[in-house]
């Protein structure tokens, strides 16, 4: 793949892989075990720092060549996961979430003061040393390294869902009381699931450290923890590859859109809300819907196209409005206004739009109306089709 991709896209691919692994690790706990962690960046961050310190200590020499260093991320994640998991899994539900959040915040508050461990504001730098005949100086080599680690990790995580403990994890989510009556030590089981999740989060952090060759305590910000929750739910926590899909898609979205518009965080939020409202099972729900439906592929494709068209048209309306408003509110535009004179045109999508003209605002409203009508129409048809089948 690196042969076809520019260095920029290659780097995006590395970040997508890392985000996918992080989300999959998170999903072991949240999706499979029913324990919603709000502080998963703690294990991700610890994994990154553990790997960096190992990189500096071993210089990629001897028994621990550079490609194996993310192992330290795994160890770091596992050890912190064991300590944090022991406390937080004593409670379940909201209380569990609050404890994980508190522990992560504790680390976030503590990290700036432990300069020797977390490097203070400037962070801990390191450098990938050559090993096994690779220099690890180019993005392509880092990409293959990350790919190998992510593929192996995802395979292990998938294998885990097939083991007795993996099965037990689903039991923890569905009915922990029942497991207790069956004689299982529920607390121990939860701790084990927690440790596994933290270990793989640590590997993801280690890969980030390998890719960025530096880290600082901003890795412990709550933003990262919430991002992994959003990504996983957008992808769909019900399916094994759902969170990985969501993380990859959203990371790429951030990559592609953040340099195009200042409002990309708003779009990210809108996507999350829209997915949660209309596709509660996430993006991977589409696959499940396709496979679970009795309709012919051609029919399904037709409806799918209807919904996609409706979404795209209404999205165009929203984007148009947001971008227009953003440019209108911007300081340099406000500065260009002269009292008593008409507001000058705004350049958007290669054309000039007069903010005072009704037609300018009519266009996004029309787009939105058409888009919603398309969606409503398709949904109504789909409902009718299912009703006739049922009858």
């Amino acid at each position: 793949m690196p042969g076809f991709l520019s260095a920029t896209l290659l780097n995006a691919a590395i970040q997508m892989l890392i985000a996918a692994l992080f989300a999959s690790a998170f999903n072991v706990l949240a999706g499979q075990g029913g324990m919603l962690s709000f502080g998963h960046c703690a294990y991700y961050g610890i994994g990154a720092f553990a790997t960096l310190h190992a990189m500096n200590a071993f210089s990629g020499q001897g028994l621990l060549p550079t490609p194996l260093l993310p192992v330290f991320g795994a160890i770091g994640g596992a050890v912190t996961g064991l300590a944090a998991g022991w406390f937080s899994t004593k409670r379940s539900g909201v209380y569990f979430s609050m404890i994980t959040l508190a522990l992560a915040e504790l680390l976030h508050a503590l990290a700036p003061h432990l300069k020797s461990v977390f490097g203070g504001e400037a962070g801990v730098p390191s450098m990938r040393m050559p090993a096994w005949g690779f220099t690890f100086g180019s993005a392509a080599e880092v990409y293959y390294l990350t790919l190998a680690w992510v593929v192996v990790s995802l395979a292990l995580l998938y294998f885990f869902t097939r083991t007795p403990l993996g099965r037990l994890t689903l039991g923890l989510r569905e009915n922990a009381h029942r497991l207790k009556f069956l004689g299982y030590n529920v607390h121990m089981a939860r701790v084990m699931v927690f440790v596994i999740s933290a270990t793989f989060a640590g590997i993801a952090g280690g890969l980030l450290a390998m890719s960025n060759e530096a880290a600082n305590y901003s890795l412990f910000e709550v933003r990262l923890s919430s991002e992994v929750v959003l990504n996983s739910y957008i992808g769909g926590v019900g399916v094994f590859f759902g969170p990985a899909l969501g993380a990859a898609v959203m990371t790429f979205f951030g990559y592609a859109v953040s340099d195009l518009t200042r409002s990309w965080l708003l779009y990210q939020g809108i996507i999350f809300v829209a997915v949660m409202m209309f596709m509660p099972s996430g993006l991977s729900g589409i696959v499940a819907w396709w496979q679970g439906s009795k309709q012919s592929a051609a029919t399904l494709l037709r409806y799918m196209l209807g919904w996609t068209a409706g979404t795209l048209v209404s999205a165009a309306g929203v984007v148009f409005t947001v971008e227009l408003l953003q440019r209108l509110m911007a300081d340099d535009y406000q500065f260009s206004l002269v009292a008593g004179r008409a507001w000058p045109a705004i350049q958007l999508f290669g054309r000039a739009w007069l903010p005072g003209a009704i037609t300018t605002w009519l266009l996004p409203v029309a787009l939105l109306a058409i888009g919603i009508a398309l969606l409503k129409f398709t949904s109504a048809r789909w409902q009718a089709l299912n009703d006739t089948e049922a009858a």
Binding site: T8, P112, H113, E121, A139, N212, A215, S258, D259
Partner: protein
């Protein structure tokens, strides 16, 4: 024209094209979205202002300098990605300002890129990362810092306040508990002898987490301090000042970031009589007024907070670019860096130079006081910054840190 002539002229065209081929590309890797975006956008405004002027004057090598904006999304990981993207897309100069943490990441990324790609070096212009490590243990040849640091700020604040009889003999050091705050805290203690004061107490508090500073203000009151020196910025500064007025504390504040747009407007009368050490004050002299008015005509506001030093830094880049001849089909960044070390501008506040030993800019400083008598009001209030004392670059300078071990290209 015969064939030979045509082919010759085509060759000449190609040769000319090769010399003109690569316009210099500058990447602005700044925080352009999220909670810290307001500061990032200020850097953007200042950089665009000066780049527009450079391009209007002919750019570099006959072609305008191209600017690409990259949103580092406020974090180090995002910044690292965007630096890689910028380099891959041909940027040879990276500019960034808000957040020392991001600066720490970028300077390392640039250092490693240059180690791995000799002959394809990239330059990092740090417009605002004030952490001492950046010109200390992390210093390297391709990093240039155009802003001040904790030592320079306190070193100027103390004598100015002393002269104005606002310092007193008992000083309270109030700072944020991370590298920047610790640097300021240390600088306050180091200047005690020169300022003729004793640090009655020093407090390091959590960054951007405290909603109520009343307990801290009670401590300041109990200590009997005459003045408070603080490196606090943004909300931490504002809430601290508001709490003092509520408690009836009359101690004067010596600050570093009071001139951030919006601060005076938010603090209101509380800000009156407080001091700030910064790199530019519009009412310092005729030149500074002229400079400020030109900036206002282009951007809608007077340069303040992080903008002045950013503009001066870009002016030094312009000087260095003028002295750098095109090599091959582009610019030799090492050559440019060497010229940047020698660059000297006469800014509105005085001469600005670059110190070759650690690439820390040497620039004049000014200490101002919030006053109703100021000529230029800020934030739509009836208050502004009145000049108390100006310092030449030599007076404001801090010594080169021993930890800086710079490897210079031969």
């Amino acid at each position: 024209m015969n064939k030979k002539q045509i082919s010759l002229s085509v060759c000449a065209l190609f040769a000319a094209g090769a010399v003109q081929a690569a316009p210099l590309k500058v990447a602005l890797v700044e925080t352009l979205s999220g909670p810290q975006a307001s500061t990032g956008l200020l850097y953007r405004t200042a950089i665009k202002y000066e780049l527009d002027r450079i391009n209007a004057a002919g750019g570099w090598n006959g072609a305008p300098i191209a600017v690409a904006e990259y949103d580092n999304q406020g974090g180090t990981a995002g910044a690292s990605d965007k630096v890689k993207a910028a380099i891959a897309e041909g940027a040879q100069i990276i500019i960034q300002g808000s957040s020392s943490a991001v600066a720490g990441q970028i300077t390392e990324d640039v250092r490693k890129h240059n180690l791995r790609n000799p002959g394809k070096e990239v330059l990092y212009l740090n417009m605002g990362g004030e952490a001492l490590e950046l010109t200390g243990e992390k210093c390297h040849f391709y990093h240039f810092r155009f802003t001040t640091n904790a030592i320079m700020r306190i070193k100027t604040l103390v004598p100015a306040m002393k002269e104005a009889k606002a310092l007193g003999t008992k000083v309270y050091a109030m700072n944020q508990n991370y590298s920047w705050g610790m640097d300021v805290d240390k600088a306050i203690k180091d200047n005690a002898a020169a300022g003729g004061y004793a640090v009655v107490e020093s407090t390091l508090h959590d960054v951007n987490k405290i909603q109520d500073f009343a307990p801290y203000v009670a401590k300041i009151k109990a200590s009997g301090a005459d003045s408070v020196l603080t490196g606090n910025w943004s909300n931490d500064l504002l809430l601290l000042m508001k709490a003092t007025r509520a408690a009836g504390l009359t101690a004067d504040f010596g600050t570093v970031f009071l001139d951030q747009p919006g601060n005076i407007g938010n603090a209101g009368e509380t800000a009156l009589g407080h001091y700030v050490s910064h790199t530019y004050n519009v009412e310092a002299n005729k030149e500074s007024e002229k400079f400020g008015n030109d900036y206002k005509a282009k951007t809608g506001h007077y340069p303040a907070y992080v903008e002045p030093q950013t503009i001066f830094g870009m002016q030094m880049l312009a000087v260095a670019l003028k002295g750098t001849k095109p090599a091959g089909d582009g610019i030799n960044v090492t050559e440019l860096a060497k010229n940047l070390e020698k660059a000297k501008i006469t800014g509105p506040m005085g001469d600005v130079t670059m110190r070759a030993a650690d690439h820390q800019v040497q620039l004049p400083m000014v200490v101002s006081k919030v006053d109703k008598g100021a000529k230029f009001k800020v934030d739509g209030t009836d208050m502004g910054f009145k000049v108390v004392k100006t310092f030449s670059a030599a007076d404001a300078a801090n010594p080169v840190q021993a930890s800086c071990n710079m490897q210079r290209p031969s």
